[in-house]
Point group: C2
Chain length 201, copies 2
DNA sequence: TAAATTAACGAACGGTCGTTCGGTTGACTA
DNA sequence: TAGTCAACCGAACGACCGTTCGTTAATTTA
């Protein structure tokens, strides 16, 4: 009866999105059939269509839920009155922690939105765009604070993508046994991004 | 009649692998049908099966060809008698240049090998493993040369994955107009990885 | 208690999937 | 000149795809 639990005792749409994301992360969107999803969610094939109108909409909902969560964390971070380097550190910690806690959804979210109709992919594009914009703002402010230089937008943009690359590649290699928890990974990414790989500890 | 040309005048299997990779990079493996591949390669559906025995084998061949090329570049790099930082710089330049010149194949290669049978995925796993091993060796040697410290394997491993993350995320954002050519991107990744984001020029 | 809404189901639809089969070219070889 | 073989094709196979339909319990609302 608890509202939050460590083990997922979700119900309804949230449970379906979670279990669908887990399977789609393994098999891919096209590789996962509605019959597969019916099985892992413990429902009938036709029963799934009570929660969404099409398989494509299910994919959209998974993406929308994830990007909205990420964006809210960044918006909250921008409201805090902290130094540029603590803001950058917060961005990285937020992103990496969310990433490791939601590896399945993130694998889907980072694989593009080619399969969606124009309206839906535009909504996702706006979410991603604002999330990226906030990230570039944080990176640019940090670089300006460290060096006193106002770098052109394309330089800041490229640096930001390198940072997102380090973070988004996590699903390709991360294992908690050998690489530590989210906090440790986030700290390593922060150190590497700000001062290079030889600043280990 | 030239053996190498800027425009692709390939024939046979190489041409099929190239055009298939291009389409699969857009639509995904499961999202691309054999009929789609027949159309873009200018062949009949059944005619494709002259070159491979199954759609899965086609995916394997695309992956094998790419990873073998990457691995050969790294092996060649290890034979050269150069300093650790020039070796690291060479690794990054090789990888980034190959990545940008083969964006389609790389998109497929970085999306895993879940759809392949055990034997094939094991062959690819060995190729990836050796490529990653050489990368970690180069990174570890560089860090040791810079700091005089022998870092534990899991630290080096994690740092290497951050580097590969910066490089492999390229397909998510790269556009030659605003981000420069492969050489410029490689130089930025090298600077960022070795000395941090504030070392821009 | 009656009505309305939610959540679920089995069965079936037309279409597309990967693959196979039997055959036909045309260039090279013995 | 007969034989071989790589290259290629149209047609069809059974399986699976996403989706829809009509229906039925269970729960909530009036």
């Amino acid at each position: 009866m608890s509202e939050l639990a460590l083990d997922k005792h979700l119900s309804g749409l949230d449970e379906i999105l979670d279990k669908s994301a887990r399977l789609m992360a393994q098999l891919g969107y096209h590789g996962t059939s509605m019959r597969d999803l019916a099985q892992v969610t413990g429902r009938s094939l036709s029963g799934l269509y009570h929660y969404f109108n099409s398989k494509e909409e299910l994919l959209f909902l998974i993406n929308q839920r994830g990007f909205t969560s990420l964006l809210e964390m960044s918006r909250h971070l921008m409201l805090q009155d902290i130094s540029p380097d603590r803001r950058l550190s917060g961005l990285i910690t937020n992103h990496v922690t969310y990433f490791i806690d939601h590896l399945n959804e993130m694998r889907i979210m980072t694989s593009g939105s080619q399969e969606m109709n124009d309206q839906r992919s535009q909504i996702l594009w706006q979410l991603k765009e604002e999330y990226a914009r906030l990230g570039q703002q944080i990176v640019g402010t940090y670089m300006r604070a460290e060096t006193g230089i106002d770098y052109p937008a394309n330089i800041i943009s490229r640096k930001s993508f390198l940072l997102y690359g380090m973070m988004n590649w996590i699903f390709g290699w991360y294992s908690p046994q050998s690489h530590g928890d989210a906090t440790e990974v986030a700290a390593d990414i922060f150190r590497t991004f700000t001062h290079g790989c030889t600043t280990v500890n």
